[in-house]
């Protein structure tokens, strides 16, 4: 079996497993998994830039939130139907990521981190400043009745689950495929040694530009999906911590792995959910878990598995 076939089987198998889980899990965990899938889509978007291209953005919340506001405002103020609103959210995120990329890619390393952080902070403050439309920190609710596609209510747990799975699968398959194409290999080349890659005749700036746009657009798609599926849009999602989350998820799951983002989000989600049932001091447990992970599984969960047992993992 070639690496390619194994990789295809892995991803299709994962999606099949998720379908089964969606059908058999109890309501509570089905709902959780729907959330996890949307957030994992966000993490996948982040991973394109951080895990594969080696660019650490600390401002990805602005892309997630751009998708969320683009979609949410189109429905809330414009009365658009779900699919066009999703499109609006995705386009909003794509445009924003193009602008941010053109400016931020003039910098590298820590300066890139700070520039993205500052743009995201400006975005967050702008969302508050335009409270008349965005509802500021309180945000707004997207009317339950409008959250449906062709008669399928997205508020129905099962429908919502499969909608979330569809969003996740698209992002997963796009990135998995991309990383097999020359374009994706060049991104890895940029991550490993940008100067070398340039001297092999690749326009590394253009590749990085596209990586930011793809990454930002997938993140924005996740934000738009979150708005539609869970019915709430608010500035919290544009705050700094929502830029830090995907970094944490990806590092936990394994940077530069296709399924790491999902594993990272699921691990973190259930760690918080479970620990908060035990004690109010659950952040202590989360903190300890993060420290232990750095000490004993530095490549992240999937990364360690790849390192120790399954070297072909994409």
């Amino acid at each position: 079996m070639t690496v390619d076939t194994r990789s295809v089987l892995l991803h299709l198998g994962l999606i099949a497993l998720l379908i089964v889980l969606g059908l058999v899990l109890p309501t509570y965990h089905q709902g959780n998994l729907a959330r996890i899938l949307v957030l994992a889509t966000y993490a996948i978007g982040f991973n394109v830039l951080f895990g594969y291209t080696g660019l650490l953005s600390l401002g990805h919340a602005m892309f997630f939130a751009a998708g969320m506001y683009g979609c949410g405002l189109a429905m809330h103020l414009g009365g658009w139907p779900v699919l066009s609103a999703l499109g609006a959210g995705i386009i909003a995120a794509a445009v924003l990521s193009l602008i941010v990329a053109l400016l931020a890619l003039r910098t590298i390393g820590v300066a890139f981190m700070i520039v993205t952080l500052m743009f995201a902070q400006a975005f967050f403050l702008t969302a508050l400043y335009l409270g008349e439309w965005t509802g500021g920190d309180e945000g707004f609710v997207i009317a339950q009745a409008s959250r449906q596609i062709a008669g399928f209510a997205l508020t129905d747990p099962l429908t919502r689950f499969f909608a979330a799975l569809a969003v996740f699968s698209v992002a997963l398959l796009i990135t998995a495929r991309m990383m097999h194409l020359p374009f994706g290999r060049v991104l890895i080349g940029v991550r490993e040694n940008e100067e070398r890659t340039r001297m092999l005749g690749y326009d590394t700036f253009r590749h990085k530009l596209l990586a930011v746009i793809i990454s930002g657009t997938i993140s924005g798609g996740a934000g738009a999906a979150y708005a539609v599926l869970f019915g709430y849009v608010g500035a919290t999602f544009a705050s700094v911590q929502y830029s830090i989350f995907p970094l944490l998820w990806v590092l936990l799951g394994g940077m530069g792995t296709t399924i790491g983002p999902l594993i990272g989000v699921a691990f973190m989600f259930y760690l918080i959910d479970y620990a908060s049932g035990l004690t109010n001091a659950y952040l202590l447990i989360v903190g300890a878990a993060l420290v232990l992970l750095t000490l004993f599984a530095r490549a992240g969960i999937v990364g360690e598995i790849r390192k120790r047992w399954v070297p072909w993992l994409p």
């Binding site: 109890p26 509570y28 709902g31 500021g136 920190d137 339950q144 908060s276 049932g277 004690t279 109010n280």
Partner: protein
């Protein structure tokens, strides 16, 4: 501990038994039936961590006290009440997840207790989808504005729009008509800005300047020079951990020559008035949702409420006089739980299948006279807007204590309906 320390199981059953013996309601008969031993589970969405934690702690203590009082009096429909507390981290995303957890994992009958508006708004869609009644204690205008859904109600605390507009007549008549407002530059502050500006203009006054302070600001003096010199009344409201800095710097800015100062107690909620630097507040005015200091005309209801929650006559914890409560807001938890009890008893609530009946029963409520269940004062509930309206208090700082100088009427707090949730299907 996630689940609040409760009365132990044994004492709970004892007290429920006593309640059953004493109670004359025919519903108590159900106590003997097979299912009756099961407690009524109320999911308490608590701000245990995050920016709301100082409020969350007192909301927790009040809730605990109210549940004890309800259980001591025989529970609800003869069944004991159990609180299932989950931390929402004062985060709207986690808030929504917690509501789902209440509905699907803990099998709670209702969800309750949220304060911060963004968590309420973030969680309300989940409550609507899970069809679980969601009783918030937030004072936000979000419920009455019609932005939420039929499952979300605010029967225990008056909303900010009412609070603010009820202040305008007193301010205009007694303090001055040229007002400058300082408020946080996010939704809560914008509510103050919009509603008070309209209300003071209706009284023939005007707002000279709106000074919006950016969120998470920790230093404020630099914004004060925007206060016009001819300001007669300075209206301030601030929230968050930096409130004490805000008020202190306000005093340092004005020095000996300040205009009349009227503030919302939010600016000093959970803060000791005796903190150094607050001396200048002597003689200034505050809105209070519920007077922090026991007043000369204290009702027996307020006395009982303080005793039950463990608050002394200065509004601080009986065990630590420096631990000042969120007295202006936390009564809402107490009153809301009593309304849940009243609603469940009126609707003969048995289990989740009766949730719609519960909501209809609460929607049918109107007058809520001052009582041990409503220690803050009398209220009127509007079933269409799912919002309660109650009297508001204005206090003046005298000798370092807040002394009540004015009680508004309920009429002062009313405004035309902006929505009718009863027309929404369940």
């Amino acid at each position: 501990m996630s689940k609040l320390p409760k009365t132990s199981r044994r004492s709970l059953i004892k007290s429920v038994g006593a309640g059953a013996l004493l109670a004359s309601s025919p519903l108590v008969g159900r106590f003997a039936s097979a299912q009756s031993g099961a407690p009524i589970k109320i999911g308490f969405q608590q701000h245990s961590t995050g920016i709301g934690a100082a409020y969350g702690r007192w909301y927790g203590r009040t809730t605990e006290a109210a549940v004890k009082a309800i259980n001591d009096a025989g529970g609800i429909n003869g069944r004991p009440v159990e609180i299932v507390a989950e931390d929402d981290g004062t985060d709207p995303k986690r808030g929504a997840e917690v509501v789902e957890k209440f509905a699907n994992q803990h099998n709670c009958d209702v969800a309750f207790g949220t304060l911060f508006s963004h968590v309420v708004i973030g969680s309300a869609p989940s409550a609507g989808e899970q069809k679980i009644p969601y009783f918030v204690v937030s004072e936000g205008h979000h419920v009455a504005s019609g932005g939420l859904n039929r499952y979300t109600l605010q029967p225990g605390i008056t909303d900010v729009k009412s609070q603010v507009q009820a202040m305008a007549p007193y301010v205009a008549d007694n303090l001055g008509k040229k007002v400058t407002m300082i408020f946080p530059d996010f939704a809560f502050g914008h509510d103050h800005r919009d509603f008070f500006t309209a209300a003071i203009e209706a009284q023939g006054g005007e707002v000279l300047e709106h000074i919006a302070v950016p969120p998470s600001e920790t230093s404020f003096t630099k914004y004060f020079p925007k206060i016009p010199r001819d300001t007669e009344v300075l209206y301030h409201v601030m929230v968050g951990p930096a409130v004490l800095t805000f008020v202190k710097e306000l005093g340092e800015f004005f020095g000996p020559s300040s205009p009349a100062i009227f503030g919302f107690i939010d600016s000093l909620e959970a803060v000791d008035l005796a903190s150094p630097g607050l001396e200048f507040l002597e003689g200034t005015y505050f809105w209070e949702g519920n007077p922090r200091y026991a007043q000369a005309d204290q009702t027996s209801h307020d006395k009982n409420f303080r005793a039950a929650v463990g608050v002394d006559e200065n509004g601080a914890s009986v065990s630590d006089p420096k631990d000042v409560s969120t007295y202006a807001h936390m009564f809402g938890c107490w009153e809301t739980l009593h309304i849940i009890k009243a609603g469940m008893e009126a609707s003969g609530y048995q289990g989740p299948a009766d949730r719609q009946k519960l909501i209809e029963a609460v929607e049918a409520m109107t007058d809520m006279p001052e009582s041990d269940a409503h220690p803050q004062g009398p209220k009127v509930f509007n079933g269409k807007t799912h919002q309660v309206f109650g009297v508001q208090y204005i206090s003046r700082v005298e000798n370092g204590r807040l002394v009540k100088v004015h009680t508004t009427s309920i009429e002062d707090t009313l405004y035309p309906d902006e929505t009718d949730y009863t027309t929404q299907s369940f």
